[in-house]
């Protein structure tokens, strides 16, 4: 081994510094601002630790007002809870939709698989905003779905889907489906099929073999897919904003409104800190799994 060299220092140091400056430091600043009082001036918060005296003053009047407000106002508690509920339900639906697709891909003839994989990845490259927008035209009151169902005579009244929670579920499942399929596929594709043959030889029924062999062996993929969907869905803004209507409250939207409409930056920061606290555990589990997968 060589000693310390500049190349090595640059390889580690540059991205390290960049992430410290633009990823870690910002969280500390958000934390700081979440404990400050809103002010009318621009920027709309009172900076409280610009000097050492400021730091002392800061800790002597530690302002937890924003957090008390979050707890006391049922609007915010409700937004967190409904985000949790919507993200968890949508994750479950995504899993139920994604599993058969991933399973079929993993069992497809070898020659098809690269093309199938490409077909799953391609929508992921396409704009998220565009894909959500595409659903408005389908789901709205005079949209294509209602038009098609009416012309087939299946409904007499247009279905109200756009601007409801159902539309949010559709949007999340649609947008995050590739994130679910890819880890599931890679878990299912690795499986040794001779296990299933052995099970069949020993008189195991196909569904039983699935429940006792295939499914347990794919649990790592299930977990990875669920985290990849749940965590970003929890803070989702675009989908509830465009598909959910006024009544669907999710915390990402609350944060956006607090920031852009009410211009209450400290409160928006507090909303962000609490959201991060809620997500810290799933994010850490996800990282642990990703690291283990990377090492193994």
């Amino acid at each position: 081994m060589r000693g310390v060299n500049w190349g090595r220092a640059a390889i580690i140091g540059l991205p390290y510094l960049w992430l410290l400056m633009f990823f870690v430091a910002p969280f500390l600043i958000v934390l700081k601002i979440s404990f400050s009082e809103p002010a009318i001036a621009q920027p709309p918060y009172t900076p409280t630790w610009d000097s050492w005296a400021g730091v002392q003053a800061y800790f002597s009047n530690f302002n937890v007002g924003n957090y008390l407000f979050l707890i006391e106002d049922p609007l915010y508690v409700g937004a967190y809870l409904s985000s949790l509920r919507i993200a968890a339900t949508a994750t479950l639906i995504t899993l139920l939709v994604g599993y058969p697709i991933a399973y079929a891909m993993a069992r497809a003839p070898q020659g098809w698989r690269p093309a199938l994989l490409m077909l799953v990845i391609l929508p992921f490259w396409t704009s998220f905003l565009i894909r959500v927008y595409a659903w408005i035209g389908i789901l709205k009151r005079d949209g294509l779905l209602n038009l098609a169902l009416e012309s087939m005579g299946l409904i007499s009244q247009p279905l109200v889907i756009h601007n409801t929670e159902i539309a949010v579920y559709i949007g999340i499942v649609y947008s995050y489906l590739p994130f679910m399929i890819l880890p599931l596929y890679s878990a299912l594709e690795k499986q040794d099929l001779s296990l299933l043959e052995a099970a069949a030889d020993l008189g195991c029924k196909p569904w039983e073999a699935f429940a006792r062999i295939t499914l347990p062996l794919s649990l790592a993929g299930v977990a990875a897919g669920c985290f990849l969907v749940f965590i970003p869905a929890m803070g989702e803004f675009v989908i509830p904003e465009l598909l959910g209507g006024a009544r669907t409250q999710m915390i990402g939207r609350t944060l956006w409104n607090e920031f852009f409409l009410n211009r209450d930056w400290p409160l928006a920061s507090a909303v962000a800190v609490v959201l991060l606290i809620v997500l810290v555990l799933p994010i850490m589990i996800f990282q642990r799994m990703a690291n283990r997968a990377g090492a193994g």
Partner: protein, 274 residues
């Protein structure tokens, strides 16, 4: 032998119909003559010409292009370094923190990233504009590049690099002559991914944009809030087209490169076995 059952085929067909139908419908209706999005009134390309005359949209497209090219290039450089560090340097101070910082932005809700970066730039008195969007996009894109590069490097063992070093090559030479060519396809994929992520981003750009730096997604978003129009369908179709062509060209060149490599390897083995 596992059999490919008809239910498997049905799952694939339904799954891909679900994934692609909305996009195809959007594209089809961008060629609709009528202003009403759900009524088909004949083929027309007039909405595309109307885009051309929409100055605001064109300005936003220019801003988006600048941001995407700059941020993805920056992300490719930083992400490659990070990926190499994670794959090839097993021990350094704060490695756990480092790998955490690389993975966390992948799942971090955009509203948090956007808000926190904005407050940072205000705290250090940097004006919001194209530069701040570029920095923000480079920050989360570099993590994608790092993951892709790390995965690629994990597929090669370090023996080639070690051999070169044993034969007296300097670390910089090893990096530029061996490591970089090995990971070039991953870097290219990472660049392309960063480019599309940046071109797509609405939330983070909204937090970090200043006057005169409205990006295309921001423009589309404000138009979408007012309703579905064929003009938006047209601009979306163009964006989908650009990205699809990019991805397909990239995957074809990759396939060709792999085929050439395989042919070279075969040619190299032939005299040895003869």
């Amino acid at each position: 032998m596992s059999r490919f059952h008809w239910t498997h085929l049905a799952a694939l067909l339904l799954g891909f119909a679900f994934l692609y139908a909305p996009i195809l419908i959007l594209i089809v209706y961008s060629f609709n003559e009528s202003q009403l999005v759900t009524v088909w009134a004949g083929f027309s390309t007039k909405w595309y010409f109307e885009l051309w005359n929409n100055q605001g949209l064109m300005d936003a497209a220019r801003v988006s292009l600048i941001v995407s090219v700059c941020s993805s290039t920056l992300a490719a450089v930083l992400g490659t370094l990070a990926g190499v560090a994670l794959a090839r340097i097993p021990r350094f101070l704060g490695r756990t923190l480092f790998s955490g910082m690389v993975l966390a932005p992948l799942v971090m809700p955009e509203v948090i990233t956007g808000l926190s970066l904005l407050l940072t730039f205000i705290a250090v008195a940097v004006d919001r504009g194209i530069l701040t969007i570029i920095i923000a996009h480079a920050t989360f894109s570099m993590c994608y590049v790092a993951v892709v590069v790390q995965a690629r490097l994990a597929g090669f063992d370090a023996s080639v690099e070690e051999a070169a070093q044993d034969l007296g090559a300097r670390p910089a030479t090893v990096f530029f002559r061996i490591t970089l060519p090995l990971i070039a396809p991953a870097v290219a994929a990472g660049w392309l991914l960063s480019f599309t992520l940046s071109l797509d981003d609405l939330v983070i750009a909204s937090f970090l944009a200043g006057p005169g730096s409205t990006t295309l997604p921001m423009k589309i978003f404000s138009a979408v809030r007012l309703g579905v129009t064929p003009e938006i369908n047209a601009i979306c179709t163009i964006l989908i087209g650009i990205v699809s062509v990019g991805v397909i060209v990239w995957s074809l060149t990759l396939k060709q490169a792999l085929a050439r490599k395989a042919a070279d390897e075969q040619a190299a083995q032939r005299p040895a076995s003869a």
